[in-house]
């Protein structure tokens, strides 16, 4: 009964919430008021925007020694997570069968394990730093902790179901993924998409003034 619900209606519901929510939120960025800048530009905006989208992947040189943990753990986590989501064999199979109709090379088993370990390492460190560093402790909202914990649970249940021989474990994983998808558009997990317009806006602003940002 529960299994059917998780595999059926809840799955479609969560997908719907995820896609609709992400679209709405991106839409609200694109379609809400844009202020036109009337001052005479010193430089073009578009290259600035483009530049900043990529330049912010690297921290400023002078800043780096102070934010090492966030940068290193951040990279470890995001790369690990990316590899786990898109290059795990069961996921590729799942995408292939349900969405895309084509597949690509999966990570070998040990590669998957390694990527998952990286993701865990980064996630735990980032979350600890969120709780321990007085700055992020002050500014973090409940939502940030929920996001971290949900991501952790999704990763964990995924890895516990690695043997792929128990449907209860697979269902647990699927259920946590569904929760994650439903929560996604309501939270700062949205940064996975909105970092692009954000950086672009700032990059355009600086580009207009002829500053590299």
């Amino acid at each position: 009964m529960i299994a059917n619900f998780i595999d059926g209606p809840l799955w479609y519901f969560s997908l719907f919430v995820f896609f609709a929510g992400v679209m709405l939120r991106l839409g609200s960025i694109i379609f809400s008021k844009h202020k036109v800048d009337l001052s005479v530009a010193r430089g073009p905006e578009a290259p600035g925007a483009f530049r900043t989208i990529f330049s912010r992947f690297l921290p400023d040189k002078g800043m780096y020694p102070h934010i090492k943990l966030q940068v290193i753990a951040g990279y470890i986590f995001h790369l690990g997570l990316f590899a786990v989501i898109f290059f795990a064999a069961p996921h590729i199979k799942f995408f292939d069968e349900h969405f895309l109709g084509f597949s690509w090379t999966a990570l070998p088993h040990w590669g998957f394990i390694f990527a998952a370990q990286l993701a865990f390492l980064g996630l735990i460190l980032l979350w600890l730093q969120r709780v321990i560093n007085p700055v992020s402790r002050l500014i973090s909202k409940t939502g940030d902790h929920i996001s971290s914990i949900l991501t952790f649970i999704v990763l964990l249940t995924g890895c516990l179901a690695l043997l792929e021989s128990f449907s209860s474990l697979r269902l647990l994983h699927r259920f946590s993924v569904e929760l994650f998808l439903i929560y996604f558009p309501f939270s700062s997990l949205m940064h996975a998409f909105t970092f692009i317009p954000s950086r672009a806006f700032t990059g355009a602003w600086f580009g207009r003034r002829g500053i590299k940002s």
Partner: protein, 425 residues
């Protein structure tokens, strides 16, 4: 809900646009921006974290604009926005932020935090949570034309001296001049050398220029306190004078926020494009220098460094010009560790220096500059903003540091090649 709060909220709501939407959607509360802000690094008080200073707007966005907020208010959960949500932020935003924009350069999500803080100021000032000193300065400007009262007599007196000393004339209200020069009150009162310097330089380079007796004051208290109505009025005066005199360009003084107000914000305040150009004095000098109209001789030999004023360099884009100009007259220039677009603020921008309440904090955060200076051991610091200059001198005094602070324009004027033909023309 009090009327005051209502006003503040209306002003804040007016600030919402696609930028705010995407910025707040992206912030992951990583705390990286804190390390870029001198108010945090010098006090280690997490409340000075840049993004935390935007909390009033962020809270409102969360309640009324975000997905979650809309959803939960449909369900009947509304958290009310309290008056203290504005009141408690007054000190953080006005005393604890110099609008230097360093935070905007480091956020991994690319959030222009300084821009949002400026928007928060709009809400705070509409609700009347603005430091008294800033309000006073703005009122004086509205009434007498300058934050320091009526300084036209003082200006005229200085000019008389200059004319007597150099034998040059300072042209007032000349129609059709190429450049209309504006000045900041601080330059008139504290650093009148600046006016003498530009007089000599322009005569040397044979520039057609003028000062408007109606609108020479370039500083903008409206921008500092975050009141667009006042800011518009003040910029409007300059624009009106420039249009009246039919000048080709308006020259912004060294003062950083004045440049931001006229050059970048002005057209947006007024909602129209200018009919004239706006240049910063350093841009103009650099252009003259490049085209060979300014000839300098002699070199300063003391060990020097250049302090980048935030609004001119990081937020204004005039970064290469001052360096080129300085290199033309100084032989021993050493850069500070984070220079150029990542320079550390003097601590007095954004109205902080005009706000007496913030003085203690301002002196504390000067430690940032101090440690930068300690690293390089220079004898002279050159800068290009009268406000930075006052703040730097204060800070050096407070720390018993023996260092000279010079304005770049004066330095150039001191090294002009004597041109006999020009004297007296």
């Amino acid at each position: 809900m009090s009327e005051r709060l209502e006003k503040g909220l209306t002003a804040l709501r007016g600030q919402m646009d696609s930028k705010v939407e995407s910025f707040f959607s992206s912030c992951v509360n990583c705390g990286i921006c804190a390390e870029s802000c001198l108010f945090y690094t010098e006090t280690k008080d997490p409340r000075y974290t840049p993004i935390y200073k935007t909390e009033p707007l962020r809270k409102l966005w969360k309640q009324e604009y975000s997905f979650w907020g809309k959803f939960s208010s449909k369900l009947g959960f509304t958290k009310t926005f309290k008056e203290s949500d504005l009141a408690d932020w007054e000190e953080l935003v006005y005393d604890g932020c110099s609008m230097c924009g360093r935070c905007s350069m480091v956020c991994p999500m690319g959030i222009d935090i300084a821009d949002i803080i400026a928007r928060v100021k709009q809400g705070l000032s509409a609700a009347g949570y603005t430091p008294q000193d800033l309000v006073g300065a703005a009122n004086r400007t509205l009434e007498f034309g300058s934050p320091m009262g009526n300084i036209l007599p003082a200006l005229k007196a200085h000019i008389k001296h200059i004319e007597a000393d150099t034998g040059l004339t300072v042209p007032f209200d000349i129609e059709g001049a190429d450049y209309m020069v504006t000045i900041s009150a601080n330059e008139v009162v504290t650093f009148p050398e600046y006016i003498g310097a530009i007089t000599r330089i322009f005569a040397h380079a044979n520039v057609s220029w003028t000062i408007s007796s109606e609108a020479f004051e370039a500083t903008n208290s409206g921008l500092q306190m975050g009141n667009n109505t006042i800011a518009t009025e003040l910029v409007g005066r300059i624009v009106a004078a420039a249009e009246k005199l039919k000048v080709k360009n308006v020259v912004s003084p060294e003062c950083g926020h004045a440049y931001a107000a006229i050059r970048w914000n002005g057209p947006n305040y007024l909602g129209k494009k200018y009919t004239f150009g706006v240049v910063h004095i350093l841009e103009l000098l650099d252009e003259l220098y490049r085209s060979g109209r300014i000839k300098t001789s002699g070199m300063e030999t003391s060990r020097m460094t250049f302090h980048d004023p935030c609004q001119i360099v990081r937020r204004g884009g005039v970064a290469a010009q001052p360096r080129e100009l300085l290199a033309s007259v100084a032989s021993d220039v050493t850069e500070m560790s984070d220079h150029g677009r990542m320079n550390w603020c003097c601590g007095g921008g954004g109205g902080v220096s005009a706000n007496e309440r913030a003085e203690e904090l301002r002196i504390q955060v000067f430690n940032r500059k101090k440690s930068q200076l300690d690293e390089i051991k220079v004898e002279t610091m050159v800068t290009a903003c009268s406000n930075c200059r006052t703040v730097l001198e204060d800070g050096l005094d407070a720390n018993d540091m023996d260092m000279e602070v010079l304005g770049l324009t004066e330095l150039i004027a001191d090294h002009l090649v004597e041109n006999e033909a020009l004297v007296g023309s």
